[in-house]
């Protein structure tokens, strides 16, 4: 346990350094012409994530430090009035709820640290593969910033029934349900991007669409859990397990898969096998819904999470049917991941050779040569002239215009004010 705390301290230190690196790079080392409003949404998402990490991890650091003091130096930050193993402990005056506050002050932003990069990847991929600009680029940035801000003032929704002052609970209900607004804006923007699009079905966009689907499904049940009066009865039940495995777990993992399929040619100079990608996607989305959707009902039946057996109370015997169904889908889902692993390593060495810009994408990374060279570009680094989402622009020769193409070369497609 003490070793674990020490490792947490090291981990937090490295997370901080990594976060600072991201933020400083994005702020200071953008290429010529790359203003903040010409950054791809992926980079925006990574930057906001890094800021969240920098601001929230130090609190976990403090929590871990105080815990170390309690364990090793006889302080009582977190413990009081405890009788265990036949004897009272000396701790007096501390509160375990303090640890929960400190933990969740990190823990909630952490949810968005996991999810925001996935949303950024999905924005980029959905726009590229839809051959259509992302709808509401600035609203997308704005909603990510709002989500990031709100993520710092909602931690108490994990603690409605800890005995926290009910008024404080009301405040957290208010802030928590506000998160639904920027989230709804993001979902509607994704839908508007897909509307009248020209979708090229690479495996990446399949996973990005899956992400949006999970983001909706899991986000909606969050409205119930964020409502303290309703949380009383579903707190710590399978309903919570279902909620966060869909909205945070599966969404984030689907975003990661989307990113891997999309940028694999950039990483290894070869393509992943797309047919296996399709198989991987359809099996996975089916098994994710098959696994986690039924869990809502187990939760509504009042079954606690973290029971290793439901045999002690006769009232829970009925749910064994649902549990069997979940197991079938979970095993199917696990096998589907085997397909991905094989595809990944096979393609790394024997996949089809990639061309420079296989997805006809606008962003800078695809202007670098397939062969890896030091500094990514031989010679000078490219200059940026436009935002990254000029897809399907009327009047343009092709359905995409890379960021490195100046407006002077695209007279026929320029909009008002673009020259």
């Amino acid at each position: 346990m003490t070793l674990w705390l020490v490792s947490m301290v090291l981990f937090i230190g490295s997370a901080l350094l990594g976060g600072i690196n991201y933020v400083v790079t994005v702020l200071n080392l953008r290429t010529k012409g790359m203003s903040m409003t010409r950054l791809p949404l992926t980079v925006w998402a990574f930057t906001i994530t890094a800021i969240l990490g920098i601001l929230s991890f130090p609190v976990l650091f403090a929590a871990a430090l105080l815990l170390l003091f309690d364990r090793s130096f006889g302080t009582s930050f977190y413990l009081s009035d405890i009788y265990i193993n036949g004897a009272p402990l000396h701790y007096s005056g501390g509160s375990p709820i303090l640890f929960q506050h400190l933990f969740w002050f990190l823990g909630h932003p952490e949810v968005y640290i996991v999810l925001l990069p996935a949303l950024g990847l999905a924005s980029e991929i959905i726009s590229t593969q839809s051959r259509k600009p992302i709808f509401g680029y600035k609203a997308m940035i704005g909603s990510m910033l709002v989500i990031a801000f709100l993520s710092f003032v909602v931690w108490g929704h994990h603690m409605f029934i800890t005995g926290m002052n009910p008024f404080l609970g009301s405040v957290f209900v208010f802030t928590t349900l506000l998160v639904a607004i920027p989230s709804a804006v993001k979902v509607f923007n994704y839908l508007a991007t897909l509307w009248k699009a020209n979708i090229v079905y690479s495996p990446a966009i399949l996973f990005a669409i899956g992400l949006v689907s999970f983001f909706i499904s899991g986000g909606l049940t969050g409205i119930i859990l964020g409502d303290s009066a309703l949380d009383i009865n579903v707190h710590d039940t399978y309903f919570v397990v279902a909620h966060f495995h869909i909205v945070m777990g599966s969404s984030a993992i689907f975003g990661m898969f989307a990113g891997i399929y999309h940028w694999f040619p950039r990483m290894f100079g070869r393509m992943m096998n797309r047919k296996l990608g399709y198989l991987h996607f359809w099996l996975t989305i089916l098994s994710v819904y098959g696994t986690f959707f039924p869990m809502h009902f187990i939760g509504l039946a009042g079954v606690p999470r973290r029971y290793y057996a439901n045999t002690a109370y006769e009232g829970f015997s009925g749910i064994i049917n649902i549990n069997s169904l979940i197991s079938v889908f979970a095993i199917l889902g696990a096998f589907a991941q085997l397909i991905f692993v094989i595809n990944f390593f096979y393609s790394m060495y024997r996949g089809k050779k990639a061309v420079q810009n296989p997805w006809k994408s606008n962003t800078l990374e695809w202007t670098a040569p397939v062969e890896h060279v030091h500094g990514n570009w031989p010679g000078e680094i490219p200059t940026v002239y436009r935002w990254p989402y000029d897809y399907g622009k009327p009047g343009a020769e092709d359905d995409f215009i890379p960021q490195t193409v100046p407006y002077s070369q695209t007279k026929s497609s320029n909009l008002e004010g673009e020259e």
Partner: protein, 339 residues
């Protein structure tokens, strides 16, 4: 042997997939695929989107209707009925939004697959649209927040003065209840006073403790306001009464509370659920150690008369001193002494 066979099957499966990929790859190269993604791929995935939408929504609807029988029965407490209503309204709202958005998502994905030579509709922004879909969720959520907080404030409002006070005491891995007795005041307790005979550490010198009673089963009189006070001896537990829609953590060093008014007796609930073996239960819902899953206490809700009859027979925390030496024991003691 079986595990060896398992490994062989596993390895053969991996090899099969790898060879299949190779063949697919060669076929695609021989077929002269120029594009990364072919028309066939687009058609396949677009149709799969439609099929998946129907299979998924159909499956979910079927499952939901079927799984109704597993859900908790009607709430057995006054506030539970109110939270259940709030829950139902919330569910109506989110199910509606779920259907609309998922159908749009998968329908767009089906409808707008790639067509060669066509361009997508260049539509980067529309402030009016954005305003509408920001303001509508804001209004709807505002209403939900208002409604939810009203219910929450009702539940957490101070309990009425006449509420019957019961302490629920959690320790690894069982529950104990202490009733406050005729004075409706619990005697003070302190973890330093805990002994085998006094498992809750009740203070003998506090006069309020004289009529306190300790029980290993929870009996509640129906339609009576009850204020639970929660304590823990060792780690955080959570007292969860699923049928009362009540839950509160038990935290060492802290007193937490929850006010309920049970409305349905065990006997009535047996009729409602058509299950003659139905019993209310208090379970632990915060992982507390190896026997967490088994940390429970039976609970009976009964008419006040039955409750009083049961309560009369429960032992006091500090039973009055027994008569010095029972006669028979005294005789045998004498016999031992005379030898």
């Amino acid at each position: 042997m079986i595990s060896l066979l398992g490994w062989i099957v596993f390895i053969l499966a991996v090899i099969t997939i790898v060879r299949t990929v190779r063949i697919l790859e060669l076929v695609s190269i021989l077929g002269g695929d120029k594009e990364e993604v072919t028309d066939g791929d687009n058609k396949f995935n677009a149709w799969m989107m439609m099929i998946f939408l129907f299979v998924c929504l159909g499956g979910m609807t079927y499952f939901t209707l079927d799984a109704k029988k597993y859900l908790l029965p009607v709430a057995a407490s006054k506030h539970g009925v109110i939270t259940d209503n709030l829950m139902n309204i919330n569910f109506l709202l989110i199910i509606f939004v779920f259907f609309v958005t998922q159908i749009l998502l998968f329908y767009f994905a089906f409808r707008y697959k790639y067509k060669k030579g066509e361009k997508a509709y260049f539509y980067p922004v529309n402030h009016k649209l954005e305003f509408i879909w920001t303001i509508i969720p804001t209004i709807v959520l505002g209403a939900m927040i208002f409604y939810g907080l009203k219910v929450w404030n009702g539940i957490t409002a101070p309990a009425p003065k006449n509420a019957m006070i019961i302490e629920v005491y959690g320790k690894q891995f069982d529950w104990t209840a202490r009733y406050a007795g005729g004075d409706n005041v619990l005697g003070k307790s302190n973890f330093k006073l805990i002994t085998d005979e006094n498992p809750l550490g009740v203070d003998r010198n506090d006069p309020a403790s004289a009529d306190d009673k300790i029980t290993r089963e929870l009996h509640l009189p129906v339609n009576t306001p009850i204020l639970f006070l929660f304590h823990s001896r060792d780690v955080i537990h959570s007292a969860y009464f699923p049928h009362l829609r009540a839950q509160m953590n038990c935290v060492p060093g802290m007193t937490t509370q929850f006010f309920v008014e049970p409305t349905i007796t065990t006997d009535s609930m047996r009729l409602i659920t058509k299950n003659p073996k139905f019993d209310y239960v208090l379970i632990c819902n915060k992982i507390c150690g190896v026997a967490h899953y088994n940390m429970k206490m039976g609970m009976v809700i009964e008419p006040a008369i039955d409750f009083m009859r049961w309560y009369k027979d429960q032992p006091l925390v500090f039973p009055p001193a027994a008569p010095a030496v029972p006669a028979a024991a005294g005789d045998s003691a004498k016999a031992v002494a005379s030898k």
